[in-house]
């Protein structure tokens, strides 16, 4: 995805977040639901040859009744008519970030060789909150390349506390003759 598409996605996500009538939680769930329900027909929506009327008819038929008339359906219709439906996944991701940010939360990717127990996760979560002021929504990824320790990714930051990084750091110090 190019930089322009990311910028556009962010703008749509922000507009969707700020529109009134539904609470943020509902907007978030509805957007995810509509993406799931239309996954099989997404190619039709993206296809530039198919008529807009037909696309909107298909949309009306595939989505469940509880989403009908919701803001998410309106957003979907707009994206189809402006031929930007391909951006819907990225809009959803951006919406998620904006939503979490409004709740002083952030997505945190946690990588380690073995899964962490609850005590370890809580310790990481508490320390993270103390330092950044944000509550992490932890997504754990098992990474066999990590020798020991853990690695955290959030926003545009990476906290690397793995043994791999420490060995690299020792190697750099030896090469730059800071140690020997």
């Amino acid at each position: 995805m190019n930089l322009n598409d990311r910028v556009i996605s962010k703008k749509y996500a922000m507009a969707y977040f700020m529109s009134s009538g539904e609470d943020e939680e509902l907007k978030k769930n509805n957007l995810k639901k509509i993406i799931n329900e239309t996954a099989d027909v997404m190619d039709y929506f993206i296809n530039p040859v198919i008529n807009l009327e037909i696309k909107l008819t298909i949309l009306d038929r595939v989505i469940s009744s509880e989403i009908k008339g919701s803001l998410s359906e309106k957003l979907f219709s707009i994206l189809i008519s402006t031929k930007r439906i391909a951006l819907v996944e990225s809009i959803s991701e951006e919406f998620e970030k904006i939503y979490l940010d409004s709740k002083k939360m952030t997505q945190l990717e946690l990588r380690a060789k073995y899964s962490l127990d609850d005590f370890e996760k809580k310790a990481i979560s508490d320390n993270f909150k103390a330092v950044t002021g944000k509550t992490p929504v932890i997504k754990f990824v098992q990474d066999k390349n990590i020798i020991g320790g853990f690695l955290m990714k959030w926003d545009d930051k990476v906290f690397n506390s793995t043994i791999n990084q420490k060995i690299e750091s020792l190697k750099d110090k030896i090469i730059s003759k800071e140690i020997l």
Partner: protein, 504 residues
């Protein structure tokens, strides 16, 4: 315990004492890459000119900060970078290794040696981009920088700390003037000799190798550093080259030394910057150059200065070179650099092909601050040179009607022809300032007027050789006294008259 065991023990204890730190870094992701330019997502805290590292180890420099991402120029092989690659901030701006160990070496703009003579162990780094010294830190230009070229030292004198542009079409002898100036610094006593830095921008590798060889053969590499970003290098390296050269020069300047930096040439530098700017999608202006192309050169040349005595009294003299197209000095980059510098030496193809070399057009060449730095003796002998030549140039159109002209006009033409002949000089043969004073004295005082035109250069050469052999104290006295008092002038007159009586 053997010595080897002791060493092992020391290393072991040092490793044990090493406390590894966790690493918190800011990262971004490559969105697109091409033509040496990367557009990236993330890196929200990145600074202008900050260095970033791609996961392949290639280094880049942030040059555009946008609403949702950054524009980065790649300082290496962009083929190793892929869409989605991770980019890491280094929180460091671009810097280059500086120090005495660079003298005699050829390096690239990142300070890496390219002369095959091993690595350089830098003890100090300096940022490539720094703000030029302010008013308080400077003093006016007051010492001359001798180029060894009669036409320049006599009529367009350059002072230490000055910025003098060398401008002209291709193949008019611009680089030759710069190289002669470097070679001439050998004549300075070691404590006063400037460190010379030759920055080659966008030149053929062969040309740089040839220049380095000439400098080596003339013993000039003992005080010279060559910074080269050849035509095969990516545009960002060409863009960096003059700033790196200047940073290296500033190290010596702040140590109280005199430095001479030659930027050969800034036209190619501007072209490299234009390429980068267009790829970074900055709006193009006149001749497709970006809006800040003036600032590109002004911030570089403003770093040339003569520091106050309180700051060590060091100086950085800049000789930028600009190549014009078809004599057009009113093009965008030439006018910019002319307005930034303290004067220009204009080289004209017509003079070059007429055999007048160096092909300096004295009519439009000027030095705005060098006059006050010129040696008094030189000012005394060359004071009238410029006006005499200007009058000669006006009258030479009538030279073909010589039989119908009055005696005064004929005398003027005759004098002018001999002065033009006298100012001719071979390449790589810069002259000592005292020799220049001697021969210019002979020319301006009319001792050459009755010498046959074809014999003028022979007269000059033999006069200098004769004085060097029979009366070297006269040359020493000119340098020592720095001015021509009645006594020295009498000696010069006598010497020239004696020589002339024996010349045939």
């Amino acid at each position: 315990m053997t010595r080897a065991d002791e060493i092992t023990q020391i290393i072991k204890s040092k490793i044990e004492k090493f406390v590894p730190q966790s690493d918190l870094s800011e990262v971004g992701q490559v969105v697109s890459v091409g033509d040496g330019v990367v557009r990236a997502w993330g890196l929200n805290g990145a600074l202008m000119n900050e260095l970033v590292v791609f996961d392949s180890g290639v280094v880049g420099m942030v040059l555009n900060i946008e609403l949702e991402g950054v524009g980065i120029v790649v300082l290496g092989d962009d083929k190793l970078i892929k869409e989605g690659s991770t980019i890491k901030r280094t929180k460091k701006v671009m810097d280059v290794g500086v120090g005495e160990e660079l003298i005699g070496r050829i390096v690239d703009p990142l300070g890496m040696p390219i002369d095959g003579r091993g690595s350089i162990n830098y003890k100090q780094q300096r940022p490539v981009e720094v703000i030029a010294p302010g008013i308080v830190e400077r003093q006016p230009v007051k010492e001359p920088l001798q180029t060894g070229i009669k036409a320049i030292d006599g009529m367009i004198p350059i002072g230490r700390g000055q910025r003098e542009l060398i401008i002209g079409d291709r193949q008019t002898g611009k680089t030759a003037i710069a190289i002669d100036t470097i070679i001439n610094q050998q004549k300075e006593p070691p404590e006063k000799r400037p460190i010379c830095i030759y920055v080659a921008i966008g030149q053929k590798e062969m040309s740089v190798a040839r220049t380095a060889k000439i400098l080596e053969e003339n013993g000039a590499m003992n005080y010279t550093i060559v910074v080269s970003a050849s035509a095969s290098e990516p545009a960002p390296l060409l863009y960096l080259a003059p700033y790196s050269g200047c940073a290296i020069g500033e190290y010596f300047m702040w140590k109280g030394k005199a430095v001479l930096v030659i930027y050969d040439d800034l036209s190619k530098h501007a072209q490299a910057y234009r390429q980068m700017s267009l790829l970074l999608r900055r709006p193009p202006g006149r001749e497709a150059y970006p809006g800040d192309v003036f600032y590109l050169h002004s911030r570089l040349l403003e770093r040339a200065c003569k520091l106050s005595d309180k700051n060590g009294g060091g100086s950085l003299t800049a000789l930028p070179i600009i190549e014009t197209q078809a004599n057009d000095v009113s093009a965008y980059i030439p006018t910019n650099v002319i307005s930034i510098t303290d004067g220009q030496i204009y080289l004209e193809p017509s003079l070059f092909y007429a055999g007048i070399r160096p092909a300096v057009n004295v009519g439009i060449s000027v030095s705005r601050v060098g006059g006050s730095a010129q040696l008094k003796a030189m000012r005394q002998v060359a004071g009238r040179l410029r006006t005499d030549l200007a009058q000669y140039n006006e009258l030479q159109a009538f030279a073909q009607f010589s039989s119908d002209l009055d005696k005064n006009t004929l005398d003027f033409i005759k004098r002018g022809q001999r002065l033009v002949e006298l100012l001719k000089q071979d390449q790589y043969e810069p002259m000592d300032v005292s020799e220049e004073v001697l021969v210019l004295y002979a020319g301006t005082k009319g001792y050459l007027d009755d010498i046959e035109l074809v014999k003028v250069r022979d007269f000059e050469k033999r006069l200098v050789a004769c004085v060097k052999k029979n009366c070297p104290s006269l040359l020493e006295e000119i340098v020592k006294k720095k001015e021509l008092n009645a006594e020295i002038e009498e000696k010069i007159k006598k010497t020239i008259e004696d020589f002339k009586s024996r010349f045939h």
